[in-house]
């Protein structure tokens, strides 16, 4: 079994419109997604996430670059590997006149998947009661759930989900989050693109952030956020006195309006509390000072103009 779920090297996709105009949606993207766990694929609108996913699934032909899914080259190896890959791309599309159950049974028949699995998945995604309703009467959230069920029909080793929480209410989002975690815990690889950074932070083991069709950061969530050396936020009655004590002990301290930022590893929190207590300064609050993924995301993606990078190629 391959230890790499997705490998992308130098992926470029240029869409040509007419003779002279072209837009580059992905620009030399390199990405490595290890097998197992949940991997978040982030980026602002137009950063190339969906195009990358479409290239991976053979829906869009890359202009340049090499892609591999579960060790098989794309697109040549897709017929072999597609049976181990479940996916939804953007808003899942179904035959609107058919019921949810009929839609699922129809695609399941392509891979000779039986009706029992279809019924079980409809229950799993919470559509058991609506399984015999025509899909045209479904809300966006219900379609999304049906899309997730379609993606899981094959019992896939790799699940590729493009905005799976799109249109879901908070409880639906929570269910998807739990489902993604469960899938990752089962040893599957879940590759999920989303705008919901809070959800991604809670769900994913690792992330990659795209900007202008290129990967600008990737790795474990904590590493991407830079959590390890971010320091501590300390709240104490007399901030100035506390700052003097800590600085005198050789610590770098930033005095802020309501708290202190102490540049010290989180595991040295006891040193700070002891030091302050020794000077009759009692800590009223303390927490690790880490940026959220959202803050880090905006920091990374807004370093340059945020307008969708669709390069005009003459």
């Amino acid at each position: 079994m391959s230890t790499t779920a997705i490998h992308i090297e130098g992926l470029t996709k240029t869409f040509r419109r007419g003779r002279s105009r072209a837009t580059r949606a992905v620009d030399g993207l390199d990405l490595h997604v290890p097998a197992g766990g949940v991997f978040g694929f982030l980026g602002p609108n137009g950063s190339g996430k969906t195009t990358t996913i479409r290239c991976l699934l053979g829906l869009v032909r890359p202009t340049a670059g090499n892609l591999e899914l579960l060790g098989e080259p794309v697109p040549d190896g897709l017929p072999t590997v597609i049976r181990r890959v479940g996916s939804i791309v953007e808003t899942p599309a179904f035959v609107p006149t058919m019921t949810a159950r009929e839609n699922l049974r129809l695609v399941a028949a392509i891979d000779r998947i039986g009706p029992r699995r279809v019924d079980a998945l409809l229950e799993q995604v919470g559509l058991g009661d609506d399984a015999d309703r025509a899909v045209r009467k479904f809300s966006l959230g219900m379609r999304q759930r049906l899309g997730v069920a379609t993606a899981l029909l094959k019992d896939p080793a790799l699940v590729v989900l493009d905005e799976p929480a799109n249109g879901l209410d908070p409880s639906g989002m929570r269910e998807i989050r739990l489902l993604l975690r469960a899938l990752g815990a089962e040893g599957r690889t879940v590759f999920v693109s989303s705008h919901l950074l809070g959800e991604i932070e809670q769900t994913c083991d690792a992330v990659a952030i795209l900007r202008h069709g290129r990967c600008i950061a990737s790795g474990r969530v904590a590493d991407v956020i830079g959590r390890a050396d971010a320091g501590l936020v300390v709240q104490v009655g007399d901030l100035r006195a506390a700052a003097r004590v800590l600085v005198a002990d050789g610590l770098a301290v930033e005095l802020r309006s309501t708290d202190l930022h102490v540049a010290v590893p989180v595991d040295q929190a006891a040193r700070v509390t002891r030091l302050l207590a020794a000077h009759d300064l009692w800590v009223t609050g303390m927490r690790p000072d880490h940026a959220s993924l959202e803050e880090r995301f905006f920091e990374l993606t807004e370093q340059q103009p945020t307008a969708t990078q669709l390069q005009e190629v003459a």
């Binding site: 699934l57 897709l78 017929p79 597609i82 890959v85 953007e90 179904f94 035959v95 006149t97 009929e102």
Partner: protein, 269 residues
């Protein structure tokens, strides 16, 4: 095989397909009723001999010499229905956006489109044959009560079945044409406009300006295909064999173009 069956099931979920079948059944019932009512007062000698076609006279169902018969007239509607049905199957899948979903299950595009074309051809031929049988069955009350079965020997029956099979095959070809062109344009209406434009405008102009080329026109060759004989009084009319060859070319070209473009097309929505 699974893909073929799946595609057939998808096609049968098109409401338009059932509307077309329903229309054909209504027209057949109306035909049966009119034949019964019209023949109730008695048929004249020419009608009973089959010289003047009447659906209550069995020999009028199909004219072995290539003349007009009940089936020949019905074939026109079959071909139109097949074309609309085929175009609708492809156009709807593009409109719904389900082509992308299917490709995440079967990424071999030629195989997918091949299954779709095959399923359309099989369904169109089967439905066409079944509707012809129903249509003729609905005429039998008139034939058995007030009409005639005279002159219907084994040779005639074999000719009738051959004509029904030819019409079924041509309906399949019409469905394949409609589907291939709709797949090229990703739209049902555009495909039907192209086909109608070709048949009515382009072929009309060719017929008027270059009568000698009419041998190669789709409508001429379809007519020969339906009757199984060269058109009476038309020196440029193709023979059944050359009509078959021309119709194959007419089917292959759009299918080839459709597959070639589908292979290269980026599915971005």
């Amino acid at each position: 095989m699974h893909l073929l069956v799946t595609e057939m099931r998808r096609a049968l979920h098109r409401r338009l397909v059932w509307v077309l079948i329903g229309l054909a059944l209504v027209m057949s019932m109306a035909g049966g009723l009119i034949a019964f009512v019209d023949s109730a007062g008695g048929l004249n000698a020419l009608q009973l001999q089959g010289s003047e076609p009447h659906p209550a006279v069995m020999r009028s169902w199909w004219a072995p010499d290539g003349g007009d018969g009940w089936l020949t007239g019905g074939a026109f509607f079959m071909l139109i229905g097949g074309m609309i049905g085929g175009a609708s199957v492809a156009g709807a899948e593009w409109r719904w956006g389900t082509v992308s979903t299917l490709l995440t299950w079967e990424p071999r595009r030629t195989r997918l489109l091949g299954a779709r074309l095959g399923s359309a051809a099989i369904l169109a031929a089967t439905i066409s044959f079944a509707l012809q049988v129903v249509s003729l069955l609905l005429l039998t009350p008139a034939v058995l009560t007030t009409g005639s079965t005279a002159g219907t020997d084994l040779e005639w029956w074999l000719g009738l079945v051959a004509a029904m099979l030819r019409i079924s095959a041509l309906t399949a070809l019409a469905a394949v044409l409609g589907l291939a062109i709709a797949n090229l344009g990703r739209n049902t209406t555009a495909a039907l406009a192209v086909i109608c434009g070709w048949l009515l405008v382009v072929e009309g102009l060719i017929r008027a300006l270059r009568p000698g080329w009419s041998t190669y026109l789709l409508s001429e060759n379809l007519a020969v295909g339906v009757t199984g004989a060269s058109l009476e009084g038309d020196a440029a009319s193709p023979t059944p064999l050359s009509a078959l060859a021309t119709l194959v070319v007419y089917a292959v070209l759009p299918v080839w173009a459709s597959i070639a473009i589908f292979q290269r097309r980026d599915l971005v929505a």
